[in-house]
């Protein structure tokens, strides 16, 4: 029984350690996977991720958008209900699908050449940023359907847009290391448990793996009070005055 549990604990430890190591290798010391910059061909004023294209939650996402000649640009992430209502009547490039590492499915949606208002004036963005020539956001995806919108501010458009995407787990490298150490410790504990197994005792052919081996020692005390160990075959020569373990 002890051997089996020792192996099980060791195996679990090894699995956890491997998982931790894999997380560390995949994410790297900055806890994220980065891809880009990737050019996006468009002359619209909006590039929007459609509802359903982002299906992850609790994933840390960093997006950097860059446009040439210091054009003003805005990037925001918000609930899909808000974002879709905001860009619903605007001509845009819509990202309908995304596959790792950078495989986008997109479609053109016709509409008006302007937005219904300044995106910077809205209060429902989960995270947003605006800048000249570039802007970036860093957020953890919430457990709701969200859309990311890259919008041109002012009279310019998004021609020359480049996107760099990074995604990962906040503190993922540290957590991978914790998983690795925990796995190693478990594997070691399992190994110790397995190594300290008792010698098999057999009684009538029955093997009891949990049996505890007891060693019986016979001691002879001479006149000076000095103890001498004696063998079982010599016991007949002595008088037994004390027997430990007997009630």
């Amino acid at each position: 029984m002890r051997t089996t549990s020792g192996w099980a604990v060791s195996a679990l430890g090894v699995l956890l350690a491997l998982l931790g190591a894999a997380v560390m290798v995949f994410l790297g010391p900055d806890s994220r996977v980065t891809t880009g910059p990737h050019p996006i061909e468009t002359d619209d004023i909006a590039v929007v991720v459609a509802p359903g294209a982002i299906r992850w939650a609790d994933l840390q996402v960093d997006v950097l958008v860059e446009v040439p000649v210091r054009k003003p640009v805005f990037i925001g992430i918000g609930n899909a209900v808000d974002v879709q209502d905001f860009v619903g009547k605007t001509g845009r490039l819509e990202v309908t699908g995304f596959r790792h590492p950078w495989d986008l499915t997109m479609r053109e949606v016709d509409g008006e050449p302007n937005l219904p208002g300044a995106p910077t004036a809205l209060d429902w963005w989960i995270d947003s940023a605006a800048g000249l020539g570039g802007a970036s956001i860093s957020t953890q995806l919430p457990d709701e359907t969200v859309s990311i919108a890259v919008l041109s501010v002012g009279s310019s458009n998004l021609a020359g847009l480049e996107v760099t995407l990074a995604y990962g787990v906040k503190g993922g490298f540290t957590k991978g290391l914790a998983l690795l150490l925990l796995g190693v410790e478990l594997a070691w504990l399992g190994f110790l448990r397995w190594r300290r197994r008792p010698e098999r005792a057999t009684v009538d052919g029955y093997v009891d793996e949990d049996a505890v081996e007891e060693e019986v020692v016979y001691v002879f005390v001479d006149e000076d009070g000095v103890e001498h160990e004696v063998g079982e075959d010599e016991l007949s020569k002595f008088e037994i005055v004390d027997e430990e373990g007997k009630p």
Binding site: P51, R55, A57, D85, F86, T145, V169, K175, A178, L182
Partner: protein, 322 residues
């Protein structure tokens, strides 16, 4: 061994705090209209603008926080105050929200419900704030007032969001919310109408019928009154399986006066403010009434729990305000 135990504990703690990224099964867009903090901000902002307008005795700032029939009622109220050199009441106490309910929506417009207690007036304002599009601000669209001791039905909630009722949905009730509005308007316009049997003879109906009877009692004056219900836009499911329905009525009082007679109103009355020259031939006063109606689950009759209304325009008098 102690350091190893500490290592295990630290690792376990680190991993316990880990939010594991996961794929969501449901990608359907939806959102709760507003979080509690946002509701508090909206109510606070409304109070500030309302008090500014009251201090200036100018209704123009109200257009940034109110809309529709409610804005018309309050604008009318401010015009009356201006013409009669009265003041508007300031709300200086803290915003005391006794209940709020925010439904879930898959598209705009969004709206939420809040009950705000006014201790000075001894009423609960049952308010609906609406955001018609993502680029628009939250605006107060309906604000019927119920007496503080009036028991408001509990709103049913599912997954933290209030449950809405479609205007034409009569499930579990004697009629739909829209049918309630139309029956109520019919009963107010014509007490003998068959619709009167479908609704409770509540204090609002009694008060309106009494006012109409007084106006019709003027000797030699032909008085007529019409009631029209607007389309129901806000209805919430209550815990008893019924609905809390917000209805806006347009009431038009028309007086036709024979030659040689003239109708005038007492100094300081809203009617006098809108038709200051009185009515010599024919004149009409238009009112909006926002009524909160509880439609109980089962076969119960709908009953008004509160209302807010007033004159919004006058037409046809010697000097009328439209």
């Amino acid at each position: 061994m102690r350091w190893r135990r500490m290592l295990v504990a630290v690792c376990a703690l680190l991993l316990a705090a880990c939010a594991v990224p996961h794929q969501r099964d449901d990608a359907k867009p939806d959102k709760i209209a507003a979080r509690e903090a946002e509701v508090a901000d909206v109510l606070r902002g409304y109070r500030e603008v309302r008090n500014s307008a009251a201090e200036l005795l100018d209704s123009k700032p109200l257009s940034t926080v109110e809309t529709g029939a409610l804005l018309a009622i309050d604008t009318g109220s401010f015009e009356v105050s201006q013409r009669l050199a009265q003041t508007q009441e300031l709300e200086t106490g803290r915003v005391e929200v006794t209940d709020m309910a925010t439904p879930r929506f898959s598209k705009y417009p969004l709206w939420f419900y809040a009950v705000v207690r006014d201790r000075a007036l001894g009423v609960n304002r049952v308010q609906i704030f609406e955001r018609t599009s993502s680029a628009d601000p939250w605006l107060l669209t309906s604000s019927p007032q119920a007496l503080a001791d009036t028991s408001l039905p509990e709103v049913r909630r599912r997954k933290g969001a209030a449950v809405r009722v479609a205007a034409d949905d009569a499930t579990g009730m004697s009629m739909s919310a829209q049918a309630v509005a139309e029956s109520y308007a019919a009963a107010l316009a014509e007490p003998a109408a068959g619709a009167s049997a479908d609704i409770a003879d509540d204090s609002f109906i009694q008060q309106m019928r009494s006012t109409a009877a007084t106006n019709a009692g003027l000797e030699g004056v032909d008085f007529s009154q019409t009631w029209e219900a607007e389309r129901v836009r806000y209805a919430l499911r209550t815990a008893d399986g019924g609905a809390l329905v917000f209805v806006t009525f347009l009431r038009q009082d028309t007086d036709t006066v024979p030659d040689g007679l003239k109708i005038t109103w007492p100094e300081g009355s809203p009617q006098q403010a809108f038709l200051s020259g009185g009515i010599e031939d024919s004149g009409q006063l238009n009112y909006y009434h926002q009524v909160l109606i509880h439609l109980p689950g089962g076969n119960g009759k709908p009953r008004a729990l509160g209302q807010y209304g007033g004159v919004v325009s006058g037409d046809g008098g010697a000097s009328s305000i439209r």
